[in-house]
């Protein structure tokens, strides 16, 4: 056993990368849920984003266009969910699960010609002076752009929800759609937009896996990251900055346990792997004591009685 082999700076730097897919998907789902919609189809939207982004990047040779396509792909798929739950008034839990099934199949069909291809590389930023700084240089200034985009997105969502009028309306819709409707807000339109935002973010998260983190296309490659993103939103008690914290924690546990293994420490991997979920449950219990809980209308169907 040699714990000194673990370099904390590199550990933090790599957990930031490991956390980015679930961070992106999580912040999108947070917005969706704050609007009162529970979309369990994150995994399906992520994997669809992963192949859309991969295919677009391979065809155009531009990772940036790949990410744009991924966001579009995720948003398009989420429109199906939006139609089912907002217009056909179908149950959200069932629709979300169906969306995951559909997305996994669709992505596999779309990806048939892309197995074994290497995507164009996404450059890591390298600022001559800053990146070479000891400790902070590698952590703060040595990543690809999407890592920063994820963090910026968290900040943007936070500011949007807290300070903007549109954010206020979104929260109102999530707390009580009937009251929001009575005030003249377009509940359905707000929710559809929130769902699409969630889909776009999930798509970006999936493309981060297929274009940067792995990078490769294989069927089912998101391997459950979408479900972790769902847990993340709950863990964060629907607060943007806590999503960031949670993503680093969830990502950190994986990276840390691999580090401990490599350092020769005999650890029960299964028990460490279940710890984020147990912590999430604990957070849920603690949270239910105070009243900053889930959006009150989460998962409920809205139909304007006329």
């Amino acid at each position: 056993m040699d714990l000194s082999a673990i370099n904390p700076v590199l550990l933090i730097a790599s957990l930031m990368v490991a956390a980015t897919p679930i961070l992106l998907a999580g912040i999108g789902e947070l917005v969706t849920e704050r609007a009162g919609v529970l979309n369990l189809g994150v995994e399906g939207m992520m994997i669809t984003g992963a192949i859309c982004g991969f295919a677009a990047a391979v065809i155009t040779g531009s990772p940036l266009l790949g990410f744009v396509a991924a966001a579009l792909g995720g948003a398009m798929l989420s429109l199906l969910f939006a139609f089912l739950t907002q217009y056909a008034l179908a149950n959200q839990v069932a629709s979300g699960l169906a969306l995951t099934l559909f997305g996994l199949g669709l992505s596999a069909l779309l990806g048939q010609g892309y197995v074994g291809i290497k995507p164009p590389a996404t450059p890591r930023i390298d600022i001559p002076f800053l990146t070479d700084l000891p400790v902070v240089g590698r952590i703060l200034f040595g990543h690809d752009l999407m890592v920063y985009f994820g963090i910026a997105l968290v900040a943007a969502v936070w500011a949007f929800l807290r300070y903007s009028r549109a954010g206020l309306i979104l929260r109102a819709v999530g707390e009580s759609h009937d009251a929001a409707h009575a005030l003249g807000y377009k509940v359905r339109r707000v929710r559809v937009l929130a769902i699409m935002f969630g889909g776009a973010c999930a798509g970006l998260g999936g493309a981060y896996v297929s274009l940067i983190r792995v990078p490769q296309w294989t069927e089912g490659m998101t391997a459950g990251a979408g479900w972790i993103a769902l847990a993340l939103v709950v863990f964060a008690s629907w607060k943007p900055w806590r999503v960031l914290l949670g993503a680093y924690l969830f990502g950190g546990v994986t990276v840390l346990q691999l580090n401990l293994q490599a350092a020769g420490l005999a650890i029960p991997v299964e028990y460490l792997s279940m710890s984020p979920y147990l912590i999430t449950i604990l957070v849920l219990v603690i949270m239910s004591a105070d009243k900053s809980r889930a959006p009150a209308a989460l998962g409920r169907i809205f139909h304007a009685a006329q």
């Binding site: 596999a108 197995v115 074994g116 691999l258 490599a262």
Partner: protein, 363 residues
């Protein structure tokens, strides 16, 4: 193996099935139908992908004389049993079941279809119409270990395992023995991913090993994620696994172990056509071509390449066995005396590290 009396109760269905499959066979008298049951999608780029290439090799070899069918992503258990039965009912006369977890389902279905031949990959149970086949990947690991031991500057070799099963442990031991032989200072860092398939996690595992000083990475997982991580890190060497992963050559990928099922599938298909098929436990390696060693690139010094190829040839010809004594187990107890080679039984169930490897196998 204990016989299960209840399975014979399913007689009614079996009899009907036989009549039906007999009728099918008559209508396709000249064309042999060969079925393949896959555990993953054929687009997994690894295990199932290679089996499907084997299937395509069968089609290419026999053309119109065969018809191949396959079902992908079949969960182990009752679904597998149903798919096999369905293939047998559909007239398949030879069925390859390509995952360890299909072992008991294969035996069950084989009982109901005595005139259909079954080939089960990586298992240990046979029947008059069930043979098994597996590849001696550890032979390839010996070659990799030699190259790894020579290439490493930090004397730290990283190893990514899936689950701690004999197959993976064999590979670790074989690679370690041969790395140690050429470089007495080498140490192995072993990380278990505890998943068959999660590319993102494999990428993390590779990064962790590199950060902890490994400059050669061996992997017993199928995705190219570790290759990409090594490429990003710069001066790290890797080996392709399952498929050649040539898109990462000449560096980081300096060589590879390729699952090459095609020749075996062709041979067994021919045997069924000729009526010479018999139930066997096949465990082939480099010599028979089931384990392929991908091109060793120029990133490897010429003398090391020559040494590796010499080792490969001596294994292929049978002159050398990768597990040749004197060897001790990790706890220091004797395993093989000088000149003694490991028997297949011990290898098949290998659950210990050889002397010198640090850490313990997770339970």
């Amino acid at each position: 193996m204990k016989m299960n009396k209840r399975s014979f109760l399913a007689g009614t269905a079996a009899t009907l099935a036989l009549v039906a499959s007999g009728a099918m066979a008559a209508s396709h008298a000249e064309k042999l139908k060969v079925g393949f049951v896959y555990v993953g999608p054929i687009g997994d780029g690894g295990w199932t992908h290679e089996h499907d290439k084997g299937r395509q090799a069968v089609e290419a070899e026999f053309g119109d004389a065969v018809e191949t069918v396959f079902v992908e992503s079949v969960p182990e258990g009752p679904d597998a049993e149903r798919v096999m039965t369905q293939m047998a009912l559909g007239g398949a006369k030879l069925i390859f079941t390509t995952s360890f977890g299909y072992m008991d389902p294969t035996i069950n279905v084989a009982k109901k279809f005595p005139d259909v031949k079954f080939e089960h990959a990586t298992g240990y149970k046979t029947a008059p119409n069930v043979g098994t086949y597996s590849a001696r990947f550890y032979e390839g690991r010996a070659v990799q270990g030699t190259i790894a031991g020579r290439l490493t500057k930090s004397n730290v070799v990283g190893y990514i395992g899936s689950y701690p099963i004999p197959e993976v442990i064999r590979g670790i031991n074989s690679a370690y023995i041969h790395a140690k032989k050429v470089n007495p200072d080498v140490t192995f860092k072993i990380v278990w991913a505890f998943t068959w398939f999660d590319p993102a996690k494999e990428a993390d595992a590779a990064k962790v090993l590199i950060e902890q000083g490994a400059d050669v990475i061996l992997q017993h997982t199928d995705s190219t994620a570790p290759q990409a991580a090594a490429e990003a890190a710069g001066n790290v060497y890797t080996f392709g696994q399952a498929s050649d992963m040539a898109e990462f050559a000449p560096k980081p990928r300096v060589s590879s172990i390729i699952d090459n099922w095609g020749p075996y599938y062709i041979k067994q298909t021919k045997a069924v056509m000729d009526g010479t098929w018999v139930s066997e436990m096949t465990w082939d390696g480099i010599g028979a071509g089931m384990v392929g060693i991908g091109e060793i690139t120029d990133a490897v010094p010429a003398d090391v390449k020559a040494e590796a190829l010499a080792l490969k040839d001596s294994i292929a010809s049978g002159a050398y066995h990768p597990f040749t004594g004197p060897l001790k187990k990790q706890d220091g107890s004797d395993w093989l005396a000088a000149g003694e080679t490991a028997d297949d039984g011990t290898l098949a169930g290998m659950n210990f590290y050889v002397e010198g490897i640090e850490g313990s196998i997770p339970q």
